[in-house]
Amino acid sequence: MTERPTGHTNTNSNLERVLAAGEFAVCGELGPPRSADAEVIADHARHFHGYVDAVNITDNQTAIVRMSSIAAGALLREVGLEPVIQMTCRDRNRLAQQADLLGAAAMGLNTLLCLSGDHQVFGDEDTARNVYDIDSMHLLQMVRKMRDDRQFMSGTDLEGAEPRFFVGAAANPFADPFEFRVVRLAKKVAAGAEFIQTQAVYDVDRFARWMEAARDMGLHEKVSIMAGLVPPKSAGALRYMKNNVSGMRIPEELIRRMSGAQDPKEEGIQITVEIIQQVREIEGVRGVHIMPIMWESALPEIVSRAGLTPRPDLS
């Protein structure tokens, strides 16, 4: 691994501090409830204390209505964890996005992940109008412009404090066309992405080839790349993802290993730990983003076994 010099930070983001300090970062993920129950956030969050540097809060993931990522993020912050607010381009136009960025920053939220968003056909509101006023590239540019130039997208000046977000983007090394994936990563970096979280890595070989191409373009020096991980709960869950989630690559061998396991959950944890160890060895990987879908309780075990505890206290 290349050591990155302790750097300067632009925001109050804990994730930025951890990455700037050259530490191998760990993010978790939490899906807000399909209800107005504030307690659900604190309840899920209890698994994360001491094991992560920040927690992604999804934004109507798979196009299913949930508590807003900003509101859930504010609740998470109240219980002492740093949220990474996910913002998609599916549900809001540039007016609503900028308004929400101001609001989120005013509530003390510091870390943002810019996404296109899953198409609404996947959810239960599939008769909705889709927005996609701007794409994820433009969203990154807009967030940086508000922060660094203190201007709205239109070019009009902000009239006071600017929203200061440490801003990230997603990348999918497993989508097609493969040879364009790193070019698109470069575009996201040029648009202003400071950290990258990838689609779940199961095919480590392909991920390593993608990282190699990223290093060839020097991108690993310009952006902090964090490998995504979804701990598999069962062979069925893996097969479901393989067949139903576009842009996922899951080797058959892994599915066989899960189906042959006596204790699939234990095997899933073990597989995740092994993948963490493998991606850590790849030059330019600066952290992991663990997405334990409906299985938050697995996270402490994974992080401890991977030797990633204790998390640095840089506040």
């Binding site: 381009c89 599916r90 540039r94 296109s116 968003g117 899953d118 198409h119 056909v121 889709n130 996609y132 006023d133 701007i134 794409d135 994820s136 590239m137 433009h138 540019q141 997208m153 997603a170 990348a171 999918n172 497993f174 989508a175 097609d176 066309p177 364009f180 070019v183 698109r184 470069a186 575009k187 040029a190 648009a191 689609q199 576009s246 842009g247």
Partner: protein, 222 residues
């Protein structure tokens, strides 16, 4: 062309409820080519209306006419003599044709017999696909002649998104990923470098988002 599909006969019957004399009007242009509202489809629609009506206690007479283009006044006027004899018009044209007839014949209700779908092309016999959304500011010069506005499910200008796999769009395996097509085409043309630049946000005010649009050709205005 503008591609359309006929509405269900039961829906059309519901619209013309109470009308005794109905005129079904076809259009000889786009919807003739896409087999939705040409002379033949007018005959079929009229027959189905008569047939469905037989079972009911309703006195319905259905007349038929097809004009060259319903969206042009000079052709719409060809119906001047037929319309006064009818209580309702069922237009088998795109939305523009329906509205032209409605404006031309102010005292007669005009109902849409088609669902106007999109601007598209035939893919194979009996299959049409959308190719243009009339966004008002064409970007095909930058995308290898493949439209990301109409053909990418997320109207992404800097694709492909992370859902593109094996050439297909994340929304379903029958839909090609427009951005994979754009990539392939520009690669073939030796112009892949064009995709390295970030295409700026779209100015949607030229599209329908800017309100109803108008094209003015000063040189043509009398």
């Amino acid at each position: 062309m503008i591609v359309a599909e006929r509405k269900a006969i039961s829906d059309i019957l519901q619209m013309i409820e109470g009308a005794g004399r109905v005129l079904v009007v076809g259009c000889g242009t786009c919807v003739t080519v896409c087999l939705a509202g040409g002379e033949k489809e007018v005959a079929v629609c009229a027959s189905l209306l008569r047939l469905q009506n037989q079972g009911e206690d309703r006195d319905l007479t259905v007349a038929e006419a097809t004009i060259e283009r319903q969206c042009e006044w000079e052709f719409a006027r060809e119906l001047d003599e037929l319309v006064p004899d009818c209580d309702a018009i069922v237009s088998l044209a795109c939305g523009a044709g329906v509205q032209t007839l409605a404006a031309q014949f102010e005292d007669t209700p005009v109902f849409p017999g088609l669902n106007t779908q999109f601007i598209g092309i035939p893919e194979e016999q009996g299959v049409w696909t959308e190719h243009c959304l009339a966004c008002g500011e064409c970007v095909l010069d930058k995308t290898g002649g493949i439209c990301p506005i109409a053909r990418c499910a997320k109207t992404i200008l800097n694709g492909p998104c992370g859902g593109s796999q094996d050439g297909k769009c994340e929304i379903n395996p029958e839909t090609d990923c427009a951005w994979q097509l754009i990539f392939d085409r520009l690669k073939r043309l030796g112009r892949l470098h064009m995709l390295e630049e970030i295409e700026p946000p779209k100015n949607w005010s030229h599209s329908s988002d800017g309100g109803p649009r108008k094209v003015k050709r000063e040189d043509m205005i009398l």
